[in-house]
Amino acid sequence: MNPLIALMVIIPITCALLVNLFHTKDKTVKILSIVVALFLPIIPLFTSYGLHYFGGYMTLAQSPVLSQWVPASITNSALNIFHMGIMYSFGSAQQIFIVALGIIAFLAILTSLSETKKASGVYAFLMFMGVASMSAVILTDDIFNFYVFFEIIAIAQVGIVIASKVKGNLEAALKYMIIGGIASPLLLLGIALLLGVTGNVNITDIVYSIKTGLVNPQSPVLLMACALIIFGWSYAAGLPPFHTIKSEIYSRALPHGAALLQAFSVFTLAAVGIVILRIFSYLAFSKVIIIALSLAAMILSITMALMQTDFKRIIGYLAVGELGYIGLGLGIGTSMSITAGLFQAVNEAIITAFLFIGFGTVLYLTKESDIRKLGGMMVHTPKIALLVLLAGLAMAGVPPLNAFQSKLMLIQSSLNAGIPELGIIMILLSIVTFMTFMKAFYAIYMRSKPKGLKISNSKIPKATIFSLVVFLIICIMLGLFPQIVTNYLQPLATSLI
């Protein structure tokens, strides 16, 4: 029993409620948000690994008081070792994910508080709510609890889009909700089929029932459940056929909101991908589907990014395209490739947030996001231009930045697994990613300034520059010493195969 594990979810939720309570008291909200956001990455560092049982309900075998009541026909069966309540499991991989999520959340909240004049409002509330449910999705070991928080994330994402007054945000939000209204009941059906076959919603117990043959692993119902859960997964993460709507959602949010939204997608992709691998890895075709979806995501999104003219849309598509690398890592299914995929998840969440907040300064100064109307920003903000360039290099996988390490690991693992084609596609798409990024970068920063463009004289807030520098430091750190993260991800990856 470790109470700190539950606190990772409870603290952001409490803070979200308090932010609502102190509505209109801007100063209080600002201080409260920053202090709590600072705690988000710190708590997991001091939490010891273990399991948390809500309500103290463990298994029948572990609670002698309860098992006196239960007839022997139950205590002698496998039910004796099944978990009764909701269970959170906190291991080294979860620790890394929540620390990364906490850092991104802290910097996004800091930037949003400094770039907007009014601190109080639904925006901070939604950000904290999203972070809380994201932590819960990463931690939870109960597939229905996972569904509940999955829905809360969806609503929080839509809320962040609605609260940012960007043109066309309401239409995108409604579209996303209608698609979500179709996809999440289907995910629920998948969970229901699993529940129907195994009689359980605890993932550890489901895996136990399948592995030990308590249920027939080749049962067609399980295949159907796998298909439905993968469908819901691709909705949550933005894999095809949902890549268009996902990138639209990013581009209709304010940059600091988008930085957090993409972190939610990346970590949902990783967390749910782990669940799918844990339950369905014995089905060979599940990995084939994951690889196919990821390849489609990479190719479709990165080529779509080439054609866009709105820089938020370009980064949105690139972010969705980069998700494909994570999926490929999970789909290849060796210990090394899964480690690489999860490492790529951490890297990508950080780099895309870096890019969104970096390009967000352009939006802050000019109120314009169409690259055809922009230009000459290099003269105004040379330091930020350099930081954004480094972020783009990191995304494309240039050494010594972090995505280089993870992409290298991915390519090596695809070679080791005997699928060199995937490695070639990954290298090619990295080049296209870089090309797309350079196109946007050239248009915004290097080209001479168009006549109609008005650049406001207001200074870029210090908090924004601070966030960018922190992101850069993390990128370089992880690029030089990838062991910091991979050593923590390795145990989970090994346990999955």
Partner: protein
């Protein structure tokens, strides 16, 4: 009856999901799309409830005059029911957010046709700029 009530209930759930999917995908009116989404949710909930049903069983309430063994063999399975309680509430709240969005969008477009509201994307793409301070 030809089929037992559990199977018939599964068919009802399937019918609701299919009707809802049809409405959500093919009807042009946004309010009807949303009604369709509510039916999909209802169908999924009914499916889960039906899984916990036990023909000839009793409600899962332990009364003092029952023995533990008899109860374990005859009661319906309560776990799915606990899940559906949560799921119903989630469905209702999502529905409320969607309807609120429809009302706001109606003021902008003067129409609730999906082809007008959601199809009007492309011409906005070019003039996508931020409206002001942000929040």
């Amino acid at each position: 009856m030809i089929i037992d009530s559990q199977l018939a209930s599964f068919f009802t759930a399937a019918a609701l999901i299919i009707i809802g999917l049809y409405a959500a995908l093919f009807l042009d009116n946004i309010i009807k799309k949303i009604i369709g989404l509510a039916f999909i949710g209802d169908g999924a909930n009914l499916f889960i409830i039906t899984m916990g049903y036990k023909a000839g069983g009793i409600v899962y309430i332990f009364l003092p005059d029952m023995t533990v063994n008899w109860f374990a063999q005859n009661a319906s399975y309560p776990l799915p029911f606990a899940l559906v309680l949560t799921s119903i509430v989630i469905g209702a709240s999502t529905l409320a957010v969607m309807l609120a969005l429809v009302i706001v969008l109606y003021k902008k477009y003067g129409s609730i046709k999906a082809s007008k509201i959601l199809g009007a994307k492309q011409n906005q793409e070019t003039e996508n700029s931020i409206k002001g301070d942000g929040l």
